[in-house]
Amino acid sequence: MSLFASIEGLFYLAALIAVIASLKVVTGKNTVHALLYLVISLLAVAVCFYLMGAPFAAGLEVIVYAGAILVLFVFAVMMFGLGVDETMHAPQSKGLSLWFGPMLLAALLLIELVFVIDNSELKLQLSNKMVDAKQVGILLYGPYLLAVEIASFLLLAGLVAGYHYAKPEHQGRRL
């Protein structure tokens, strides 16, 4: 089997996409474009997880990271009002060239995913070594029950702190 058609080849491709997208996140100038690249990076890592035989973690990565956390970032960027700043200083409409980078990387990932789903031999190879959600669930609510409780406390603390810091200041009283 050729390198591209093997799980390793697909893994290296996804890893390359993740690294490139992360580099673009770190070096980016525009916040929204960096966020787009961050989404691509997280999706590429999710594909890596799937190819490593952790489909549950891949799903969580897409839903929680690329879905929830990135939406939080987008909301925050909108609250910062960077949009006004951009329209004043950014060059006028460069057309689709700004979309090209993220679109190319995302299209590569999509092709890769379709290829894996379509190829029955690869699917068989993957299903041999998967650690599925059932095993994770059994462990999570068995030996790791205390960790789950602590994680819920952590989320509660995050919720309270987020609410407290983001609420408007009262007159004459700081923080």
Binding site: S6, S41, A54, A57, L60, V64, A76, F80, A151
Partner: protein, 102 residues
């Protein structure tokens, strides 16, 4: 046993971690620092999933879920602090905070 060698997974993990770390250190915009932190946390997740898949255990994925929880809480608090900072100083430059008194 998986087809992907653990060494390569760890190389990917350390690459992503280094990129994120450089981002945290170099960038002056706090929003970009938060994004780089996300990349770093994600890199640690890659290492855990890779180790879990080599030994065919679910523990790696559980650790990844705990990291996910940590990332969610960290982003919530971090972004709230950034909103507060933007409101008070009208900028996201980290250097503004160097005059902060305890």
């Amino acid at each position: 046993m998986t087809d992907i060698p653990l060494a390569h997974v760890l190389i990917l993990s350390s690459l992503l971690f280094t990129i994120g770390f450089v981002g945290v250190v170099v960038r002056k915009n706090t929003l970009f620092m938060l994004m780089s932190l996300e990349v770093m946390l994600n890199a640690v997740g890659v290492a855990f999933i890779g180790a879990g898949s080599v030994w065919q255990e679910a523990d790696g994925q559980i650790m990844f879920m705990l990291i996910l929880t940590l990332a969610a809480a960290e982003v919530a608090v971090g972004l709230a602090l950034l909103i507060r900072m933007q409101r008070r100083y009208r900028t996201l430059d980290i250097d503004v905070l160097s005059k902060m008194k305890g």
